[in-house]
Symmetry: C2
Subunit: 178 residues, 2 copies
Amino acid sequence: MIEVEVKAHTYLDYTRNLLEEQGARFVESEHHFDSYYNAPHRDFAHTDEALRIRSRDGKAFLTYKGKKKDSISKTREEFETPVDPESMRNILLSLGFREYGVVEKERDVYKLDDFVIALDSVEKLGEFIEVELGAESESESEIEQKSKRIFEFLNKLGIGREESIRKSYLELMMEKKG
Amino acid sequence: MIEVEVKAHTYLDYTRNLLEEQGARFVESEHHFDSYYNAPHRDFAHTDEALRIRSRDGKAFLTYKGKKKDSISKTREEFETPVDPESMRNILLSLGFREYGVVEKERDVYKLDDFVIALDSVEKLGEFIEVELGAESESESEIEQKSKRIFEFLNKLGIGREESIRKSYLELMMEKKG
């Protein structure tokens, strides 16, 4: 599955009001505890991949994200499977992977048409909005067209293209640390 | 979890009769389709590790087995998590792991006291028995004592210690191929 995703800093109270005025439908609140792992044979900080165990309200998932596919949005290839988080962690550590960062957040999910909107309050980093559209193919034209729609949507919330952030929460956390 | 496990070639019909005479209780029949993966950064054929996706009657599991801990039985450290097999396969391939062997078998599981007994009919390899005991610790004395109990048990089925096979089904399959 390909996801086209754009993220920006925001003020959640302000954005939530605008979203609801646009007719967005609240879906659910989630608590995410994310552990990120790096590989023994290549450095994901350079290859721009990510491998994560997410614990979410009693469930857990292993997610792999490939490198970003274009220079504007955060489009990546993504695979995800449910896992038992403790066993999965032990398997990764046994294989020589190591944990190198943790991101914890509260996420409120909204939907409007085919947009999935996340309002995130991220520990130590602040408040963000992420807007996502699914894509059928990896074609540049489709990704460009979906990105354009997302930026038009963000504009209605008072957020300009120049405010978008390509970095992941993990990267932002690492910058803060370092 | 540590498992102490001994495997031997056998004739299933013959062994099944002896097992039932001993009072073993039939638990279930399982169909296993096992895909084995090798790592990009070390060769499991040399490190004696194994990483497997097992599809079993509609469910699937990722299992990691560490190197064998002693020279007689097949004791290893083992971690296992339920997964979605297609997504897990895609994650492993994306990380640079590669599939290098498939083992398919029918397994009948029996229990007797704390013994777990598998009667396996393995495609292209033939018929085998595997007997397993759980161990609390990795102490040599505990593993030795459990192995001794397994060999005494196998003796009652007419199978001698010298008939035990340390190799995995995958190794046997690779030998056959090579």
